[in-house]
C-alpha cells in the first residue's frame, strides 16, 4: 500500500532516521569499546532493535507498508541472534581452560 507523504512527515522521518543512525553509531561505539564480550553482544542486540525501528520509520518515510513486513520479520528473528550469542558467551566460559586455549594466556 503506497500513500502520499507530506513534506512534514518527510522531514520528521528524515530526522528520525538520522537520530536512529546516530544511535546505531553510538551503540557501535560501545561494541568497539567493550570491554567485555557481553557489552558487545548487548550493543549488537541494541543495534538490531534500532534497525527494526529504522525499518519502521523508513516505511513511514516511503509511505509503503511493505517495509513493515521486513521490520516484523527482523524483529522476529533478530532476537535469536542475541540468544545464540548469549549462549555462546555462556558456553565459552565453561570451556575455559579445557579444550580451547583462552584468548589471554
Amino acid at each position: 500500500m503506497i500513500m502520499e507523504t507530506s513534506a512534514f512527515i518527510e522531514l520528521t522521518s528524515r530526522f528520525t532516521m538520522a537520530v536512529l543512525i546516530v544511535s546505531i553509531v553510538l551503540a557501535f561505539g560501545r561494541m568497539v569499546l567493550g570491554p567485555n564480550s557481553a557489552d558487545r553482544v548487548v550493543a549488537l542486540d541494541l543495534i538490531s532493535v534500532l534497525i527494526v525501528a529504522f525499518l519502521a520509520v523508513f516505511s513511514v518515510h516511503e509511505g509503503n507498508t511493505s517495509f513493515l513486513d521486513v521490520a516484523i520479520a527482523y524483529a522476529l528473528v533478530a532476537y535469536l541472534g542475541t540468544v545464540a550469542l548469549a549462549r555462546y558467551l555462556f558456553r565459552s566460559k565453561r570451556n575455559d581452560g579445557r579444550k580451547q586455549s583462552p584468548e589471554n594466556p
Binding site: 567493550g34 516484523i72 565459552s92
Partner: protein, 126 residues
C-alpha cells in the same frame, strides 16, 4: 492530518528514546547497567516508532503487524537481556564499583575471565 502529526510526534519521541538507550550504552558504567538502557529505552523507543507507523498508515493489517512487533519486542527484549546478563555474570564481569550487594554471587560459582577479551580485567564480582 491528525494522524500524521500524532505519528510524527511519536516517531520523534521514540527516536529520542532510542538515542537515550544508545547514549546509555555508551555512558553507563557496567554491563548490567548498560543493559538497563538497552532493554528499556530501546524497546520503548522502537515500540513508539512502530506505533507511529501504525497510526500513520491507519490500516488494520499494519496495525496488527505493529501490535505483533510490539508484543514481540516486549516478550523478547527482556528474555534476551536475561540471557546476556546471566551469561555475562557467569563469565565474570567487572561490576560497577558502587554495586553494594550481590545475592546471586552466593548461589553460583563463577570462574575464569573472559576468553574473548584480552583487554577485559577478569575481576570477579564480589
Amino acid at each position: 492530518m491528525m494522524n500524521e502529526v500524532f505519528a510524527a510526534i511519536l516517531m520523534v519521541i521514540g527516536s529520542l528514546f532510542c538515542l537515550v538507550s544508545a547514549v546509555g550504552m555508551l555512558r553507563l558504567p557496567d554491563t548490567l547497567m548498560r543493559m538497563h538502557a538497552a532493554t528499556k529505552a530501546g524497546t520503548l523507543g522502537t515500540g513508539l516508532i512502530v506505533v507511529a507507523a501504525a497510526i500513520f498508515t491507519n490500516e488494520l493489517g499494519t496495525t496488527l503487524k505493529a501490535i505483533a512487533v510490539i508484543v514481540f519486542l516486549l516478550l523478547t527484549a527482556p528474555v534476551a537481556a536475561h540471557l546476556i546478563g546471566r551469561a555475562a555474570y557467569h563469565r565474570g564481569i567487572h561490576l560497577f564499583d558502587k554495586t553494594w550487594i550481590d545475592e546471586l554471587g552466593g548461589t553460583m560459582e563463577t570462574t575464569g575471565g573472559d576468553p574473548d577479551n584480552r583487554q577485559s580485567d577478569p575481576k570477579k564480582p564480589r
